[in-house]
C-alpha cells in the first residue's frame, strides 16, 4: 500500500539501530492510526495524521541521532576524531600552499609570512605527531617527554632541510620567516601535547574516583 511505503521511507530519518528495533512496531502503529483516522474523519483525519507524524519526526529523529552520537563506541569516536584531524591538516596544508603562492606572486609579505608559519605548523605537525604516536604506542616513556623531544627534533630537522634546500631553490627565501615558522610550530605542538596530557590525567583521576 502506498501509505505504508511512504511511512517506511519516513522511517529512514531515524538512526539504523532504532529503526531496526522499533521500525516494525512503528509501522504497525501508523497502520492502526491510519485506519482509525480514515474511519472516523476520512481524508481530513488522514491529512491530520500525516501532519502530526511529520511534526513528530522533526522532533524525535534529531533526538535519537543525538543520543546515538553520545553513546558511540570509543574506537569509532577516536577514528572519527583522527579522520577529522587528518582532513583538517590536509586542508591547512593546501591553504598554506595557496597563501604562499599568492604571497609570492603578489609580493605580499604578511601573507607570505603567515603561509610559512602555517606550512611549518602542518609539516612538523604531521611528521612529529606520527612519530609521537608510534613512540607512545611502542615504548613506556612519559608521553609528554616524548612529545617534547620529538617536536624539538622534527622542527629542528625540517628547519635545517628548509634552510639548505629553500635558500637554493626559492629566490624569495627568508631565513627569519622560516625560523619564526618553526619556532611557532614547536611552541604550538608542545603546548597542545601539554594540554592533552593534563586533560588525560584529569580524566583518569575522575574515572577512578
Amino acid at each position: 500500500m502506498p501509505r505504508q511505503r511512504l511511512f517506511h521511507i519516513v522511517l529512514f530519518a531515524y538512526p539504523r539501530d532504532f529503526r531496526h528495533e522499533y521500525g516494525l512496531q512503528m509501522e504497525q502503529f501508523f497502520r492502526d492510526c491510519y485506519r482509525a483516522e480514515k474511519m472516523s474523519r476520512g481524508h481530513l483525519g488522514v491529512g491530520g495524521l500525516w501532519f502530526r507524524t511529520l511534526l513528530d519526526l522533526a522532533r524525535a529523529a534529531p533526538r535519537e541521532h543525538l543520543e546515538n552520537l553520545g553513546k558511540e563506541n570509543p574506537i569509532m569516536k577516536n577514528l572519527r576524531r583522527n579522520a577529522l584531524a587528518f582532513l583538517g591538516s590536509i586542508a591547512l596544508i593546501v591553504i598554506a600552499f595557496l597563501l604562499m603562492s599568492y604571497g609570492k606572486k603578489h609580493e605580499v609579505s604578511a601573507i607570505l609570512a603567515f603561509g610559512r608559519i602555517l606550512d611549518a605548523l602542518m609539516t612538523a605537525g604531521i611528521v612529529g605527531n606520527l612519530i609521537v604516536f608510534l613512540l607512545v604506542a611502542v615504548t613506556r616513556f612519559n608521553p609528554l617527554r616524548i612529545a617534547l623531544w620529538t617536536m624539538l627534533a622534527v622542527n629542528g630537522a625540517l628547519l635545517l632541510v628548509t634552510v639548505l634546500v629553500g635558500s637554493k631553490v626559492d629566490p624569495a627565501f627568508s631565513l627569519g620567516g622560516v625560523l619564526l615558522g618553526y619556532i611557532v610550530s614547536f611552541l604550538f605542538w608542545f603546548t597542545l601535547h601539554w594540554f592533552w596530557s593534563k586533560a588525560s590525567t584529569t580524566q583518569a583521576v575522575s574515572s577512578e574516583s
Binding site: 531515524y14 532504532f18 512503528m26 504497525q28 502503529f29 492502526d32 519526526l57 522532533r59 524525535a60 535519537e64
Partner: protein, 121 residues
C-alpha cells in the same frame, strides 16, 4: 541496562510524554497503539503521541528499567502476534507514584495560593 541503585526521585520531574505513558501502563499491559489511545483518552485528546516520540520514550523507559516487554498477551486469540506489549515494573510504579506525589504537592501549593479551587474528596 537497568540501573538498580537509582532512587525514583532522581528521575523526576518526568517528561510529560513519559508520565502519560507510565500512567497509561498503570492499568495493565498495553501495546504502542493502545498506549497512544489511553493517553489520548485521559488527556481528552490533547496529547496524541506520535510514533517517534512514543517509541523513543519506550526505548528509554526500557533501558532505565521502568517498563519491560510483557511475555503474556492479554488476548492472544484476537491479537496480532507481532505486537509487543509493555508492562510497568515495580521500579516504574515507584517512579510514577513519586511523580504523582510531586505533582499533587504542586497542586496543593496552587490551591493555597487560590490559583485553583480546592477539590472535595
Amino acid at each position: 541496562m537497568v540501573k538498580k541503585s537509582i532512587v525514583p526521585e532522581s528521575l523526576l520531574p518526568l517528561r510529560p510524554s513519559v508520565f502519560h505513558i507510565l500512567l497509561a501502563l498503570s492499568d495493565g499491559d498495553l501495546h504502542g497503539y493502545g498506549i497512544m489511545q489511553e493517553v489520548a483518552d485521559h488527556t481528552a485528546g490533547q496529547i496524541k503521541l506520535g510514533p517517534g516520540t512514543l517509541y523513543g520514550a519506550i526505548k528509554r523507559l526500557l533501558s532505565e528499567g521502568l517498563i519491560v516487554e510483557a511475555d503474556e498477551r492479554p488476548d492472544p486469540e484476537l491479537d496480532d502476534e507481532r505486537r509487543r506489549y509493555y508492562r510497568l515494573t515495580d521500579f516504574g510504579q515507584k517512579v510514577l507514584k513519586a511523580e504523582v506525589q510531586r505533582i499533587s504537592q504542586m497542586v496543593s501549593v496552587a490551591q493555597r495560593k487560590r490559583l485553583i479551587p480546592k477539590t472535595r474528596s
